[in-house]
Amino acid sequence: MGYLTIMEAFLLSLQAAIVIPIVISTAGLMKKGRNGIFPAFFTFAMMSMFLSALYCLIFCIVRPEERMPFAVDEIAECAMLLLVSAGLEALSSKRKKWMPRAFLFTILYMSASIALWIAWSGEWVQDILFGLPYVYLAYLLIRGLEYVRAWDTDGERIFAAVMSTVILLMQTVMLLITSETAQNFLNLGSYAIAHGITAWLLWKNYRSLRDKSYGEKTLYLSITVFLWTILVTYVSDGIYYNVALAINTMTIPIIWIAVKRLRGEADGAEEGMENP
């Protein structure tokens, strides 16, 4: 078992260990009502994530040097994304507004991402099928970030769109060129930009939590950084994959804090209605 596999196994066990208390905690937040539905979906999503991490961990231990074929961890991940999406849909049920700009960007961006996944793995049916929940969640997040006014300026939004597209372009060029030096350069460049965006999103999350922004804004920002870090793991290899996985694990407690804040706001509103 190589050091990368040991590191991955450690990170997966850490992820599983972090998710267990979150499942227990959010299960207590499950209530009927608009803001209570999200914790219900989120609890199920975290259970799926826990089992997916556990499955990958066992695979690392039982078959350390093998490449995992199509297995249930992908279905569990897919279910997790669908459950989070369904929770967000329920949360924004009162303002289901069609946003063509967000939809177009999501379709173009995620189609290009899926095309790259296919180019890397060759598993085109699987990548298209399991790419769909990513498209759905990405659209809900881009739309939701607009609703909650998560971008401080228009420049921020354009910056995020341009930089994430630059990563895709760099990864595409890497497939077309043969020079190893240029490939390494582009690879390092795309990692730097990807982690730069992650750091910036984490900073926005920190500000949102510190400034006591309302729960929905914090929730959308935290799920955005969570999804982004999942996408970063897909463009990463070797040690970079483990770094991306570690950062992805770090984002889970941020969502949990946002869910707790959201639930707290709902409880406060209910109390306010009872004692006007």
């Binding site: 009927k32 799926s48 499955y55 039982v62 074929p69 279905i75």
Partner: protein
Amino acid sequence: MIYAENVLICITVPLVIALMFLQGSARRFVASFLAGMAACLLAAYVGGYVELVSGLGAEDTAIFLSPIIEEIMKLLPVLFYLMLFEPKDVELLLVAVGIGTGFATFENCCYVLSNGAQSLAYVLIRGSVVGVMHLVSMVALSVGLHLLKQYKVFTISGIIGALSLAMTFHATYNLLVSKQGITTYVGYALPLLGALILYPQTYRYLGKKEERRPPA
């Protein structure tokens, strides 16, 4: 080679006749037991087809793809029952348990017929581990579906979520026992541990629900 269809006919005929003499919960259980056995046969057909199409070997198909196929096949009758009859919590659990045990029984019958039943250790493992694993995954699935209904999140995403829990549990067991060593024993312990955890939780929860229900 065994003729699984013939085995199914042999086991089901007395049970089908028994349905005429049963009523209520007993009838529901036997019917779901039969549905579980039929689901097992269909899962074997689909599994054989997927093995050919996927290009994975028989062993890898059994480890990685069978849990997906089998759990989908077990989910379908439960979902059908849930949507058509809108059962109470206890009834849903009863049907899920019936399907799980039916599936496990038929699978065990076929394995024992093809591999022999001379070794008591082998028979014990098949009965108390594989059989219990199908049962536990079905109980977990029915509890998951019930929770989705309770919190009014019974959507496609929710159903896929509950199904993925059952699939991952099943696949984890298959993966653990796929290689000889300490992981095999962990795998053998997993279904029994699952049953021990689920048993008090499920009945405590159902008991509370019954207490809360107003008297008729």
